[in-house]
């Protein structure tokens, strides 16, 4: 792409300009905070780093655990494709074995053909179920003090209802705090509640955009109970220097632990990082399957010739 047509360039320029203008219209941090307070959306609070004593206590009570999942697909055009799903549960207690669950599927093996979106949706659901199962095993085998899950807790409630109910029961019975960590916030609850004070461009802005730049490092907004996500408590937190907040869900029944979880998340997040606790990065890196590994495994088990057949032509394109 050596040359860009004039027309093309013009269009990009125009859109970029519009986006910039929109951004300029966003009310400042103070104004946003005021709107949020006036509309009783929630309360701004300051998290504190846990002291060594607190950490020692958590360790004594079972430490922390984390569950994450990953999904890879290899092959060509649907349905010539193989899905590999993996869920992993680890504990900060080194002596505990990791809990690893996996599932490998291909639409070619289904009795009847279904549409690609449906199949993909199904895979997503299966992954949530796999993760929930890993979480259940973590709770029963590790008995941690805190269990971090990757993504919103609502996702589990929707995608893996029965497993999630089991998890909840065990957690409540054993007083294990469950927290879902959301890196990419997609909700837009705040803008809905304060929209009267917002310029038209921001009436439907996502929560992360509203809060971006409105909080200090370590500060979090605890959303008023019942405002959204029924059965859960949600807080948005700026846990690192990165101005984009992350989301944290906990069970409504465990609302007394909100502050504790906020502090723990803040303690475990690298200051220069993107806001996700290092602990979740560790789980994420452990569970992720690299493409090279995938390919090696598939080639190994399927035979290179067969693997070659399902590969799309575009992959054989010269670079």
């Amino acid at each position: 792409m050596e040359r860009i047509g004039e027309d093309f360039k013009e269009k990009i320029k125009k859109t970029a300009e519009l986006l910039k203008n929109r951004g300029l219209k966003k009310p400042g941090g103070e104004a946003i905070r005021k709107l949020i307070k006036e509309n009783h959306v929630g309360e701004f609070l300051k998290a504190e780093r846990l002291r060594e004593k607190d950490l020692d206590e958590i360790k004594l009570e079972g430490g922390i655990a984390g569950v994450d999942g990953s999904i890879n697909s290899i092959g060509g055009v649907y349905p010539y494709i193989i899905f590999i799903k993996r869920a992993l549960g680890i504990s900060s207690e080194k002596s505990r074995e990791e809990i690893e669950l996996s599932e490998v599927d291909s639409p070619l093996l289904m009795e009847e053909q279904i549409k690609e979106e449906d199949y993909r949706a199904l895979q997503k659901k299966r992954l949530a179920e796999l993760e929930a199962e890993a979480a259940r095993q973590v709770l029963t085998k590790f008995r941690p003090r805190v269990l971090f899950l990757d993504g919103s807790l609502v996702r589990f409630k929707i995608e893996a209802k029965s497993r999630f109910d089991q998890i909840k029961d065990i957690a409540l019975k054993n007083d294990v705090v469950i927290a879902g960590l959301v890196e990419g916030i997609s909700t837009s609850v705040i803008s809905g509640s304060i929209n009267k004070g917002l310029p038209p461009e921001f009436k439907h802005a996502a929560d992360w955009e509203i809060l971006m730049g409105a909080m200090d490092v370590g500060e979090y907004l605890e959303i008023k109970s019942g405002l959204f996500k029924e059965g859960f408590r949600t807080l948005f937190m700026r846990s690192s220097l990165d101005p984009k907040p992350i989301g944290v869900d906990i069970l409504e029944e465990q609302k007394d632990y909100t502050r504790f979880i906020a502090n723990l998340v803040y303690t475990l997040t690298p200051e220069n990082g993107r806001g996700i606790p290092l602990w979740m990065d560790i789980v994420d890196k452990k569970v992720k399957i690299t493409d090279a590994f995938m390919e090696a495994v598939i080639n190994g088990f399927l035979g290179e010739d067969f693997a070659e057949i399902i590969k799309p032509k575009r992959e054989k394109r010269n670079p």
Binding site: E52, D56, G63, I64, E93, L268, P270, N272, W279, K285
Partner: protein
Amino acid sequence: MNVVGLTTSHEVYIASKERKFRINELIIIDDPNQGPVIGEVSETFSYNRYIPFSLNHDFFDAKVVESLKRLGYSIDEEEINVAKVKLMTETTYPIVTGSKARIPDFFEVKDILVRGSKEDGLVLGEIKHTEETAQTMGEELKGLFYILNKGKTEKTKSVPFILDLRSFQQYPHIGIFGGSGSGKSFGMRVIMEELMRKRIPSIILDPHYEMDFSTSSDLGERPDFSDCYQKFQIGEEIGVEFSALTTRDLLDLLSAVKPLTEAMSSAVEILFKRGDTYASFSSRVEDLCEALEMGKAKLDKMLALEGIKEIEKEKYRRLRELMEEYSNIPLPSVQGISWRLRRLYYSGIFSHDINPVIRALKSGKLSVIQGPIWLLQVFATYILSSLYRKRRDYKDGELKGEKNFEYFPPFVVATDEAHNFAPKGYDAPSKGIIKEIAQEGRKYGVFLVLATQRPTLLDETVTAQLNTKIIFRTVRGNDISTLMEETDLSSEEAKRLPYLPSGDAFVSTPLFGRTIAIRVRYPYSMSPHLKNPFDELIEKSNQEMEEYYELIKKELPIYESNLLRVAKNISSQNLKVVMEVNALKNLLEEMVKKGKIKKEESPFGSFYTEA
């Protein structure tokens, strides 16, 4: 430990979570198809995927890592160790990825590590990073010597590095390279000790006066070297036999004092006659000098003079003849020769011969030749040529079946600062003989051990002939590139050269066919120069204090009012000491400070008394 990643038939990567790798370790890879393959670690890495090297996001935060540790999760344990392993011999096919790798048992790698027995070889040190392999080694090779490790001496736990003496026949010469403080001198000392233990006739030129083996290092058990070596000072115990000198030798000797001009050289050539003794040659030079100073006219006048003694007349006649004979030699040249000759004479060099060295060599001893560097170089030329000739004549005679040559043993020639003896680019008297030994010494069983801190300045022909090279820490870039050209040192190893700890060295030898990293053993003896000059000062002053204390002890207690009498007493009793009141007072105060005596007050003034 497993083979990971892309493999080739000469290089693989292995990774391990539990074990850290060290450079130069030997590793065995059990390839399922090709059997066990031996390799050597050439580079090591360690990687922790949770502590990424990233400047713009998720930068390492020590506080968070510490918090996780507090919770029981230590991120350090997630470290992955990776080693690049070079295979000893190329395999037919690339190594299978995933093959198991392990630390070899001694018997599996014996041939790679040990060539020769401790009885028939020079035990120079330990092969680095072989502790694990050494555990399965036979008892006869274990704990042969001491190693200096982090300031402490301890018995070696590794595989010994043995340089087989028999291999000298094939690979005769050794080079030792390294900057100051690199352990080069220790290396030389260890080689000398080993030669003495094996009773190999050797000669070492010692410009630094450091080759003494009587001071023992701090090791408990040690062999006694006292009858294994002899020290010779040029001019004191050994020298040159003037009548055996050739014109060339004499020219070298004279120019060692100060370089000769061309006129002087040709004057020497004219004046020196084969078979001259020192007396005959020097009187010829002196007389000519006198004759030229007087001049023809004055000489004729003196000869014509009436009433002088016949003996004097005889002298003038002789001078006159000399003048006739050497009329074309200018006076300054003769004067130049004259003072150089005198300086040589006063060094004592012409009053001795090299027979003591020959006797020492024949009895299998190490001869340490000491002298000032200006003399040592020329003397080295003379003595090495003489000894080499003797050995060559004997061997050639033996070949030709002639029995009339006296037996002369094979021997080793060693020197530090070898670049002075065989410099590159310009001529030095000793260069010729060292080059000759380097090139054909093998035939006659004459071997070189040359040490230098500047390989770049050493004559190339000589460097090329040094088959075994022991390379200590080297910092200079051009020296490193010289060494790389001359050895099979890899670029990775060359990169490590400036950072080698003192005493560590690479040995490049055709005998092993690869570069071996060694740590030189701790010597049994110590250089007399190793005492710190500041310790020496303190020791010296303590010693003096002790001597003075002995002197004044008898006079104690000493009243301040009485100092004059005491000073006189001390001076009168000891011829060597002249003590006056102020000096005595200072001395007494000094002793009080050091706690040797104490000062007390009394009604009669203060006095000094025993502590």
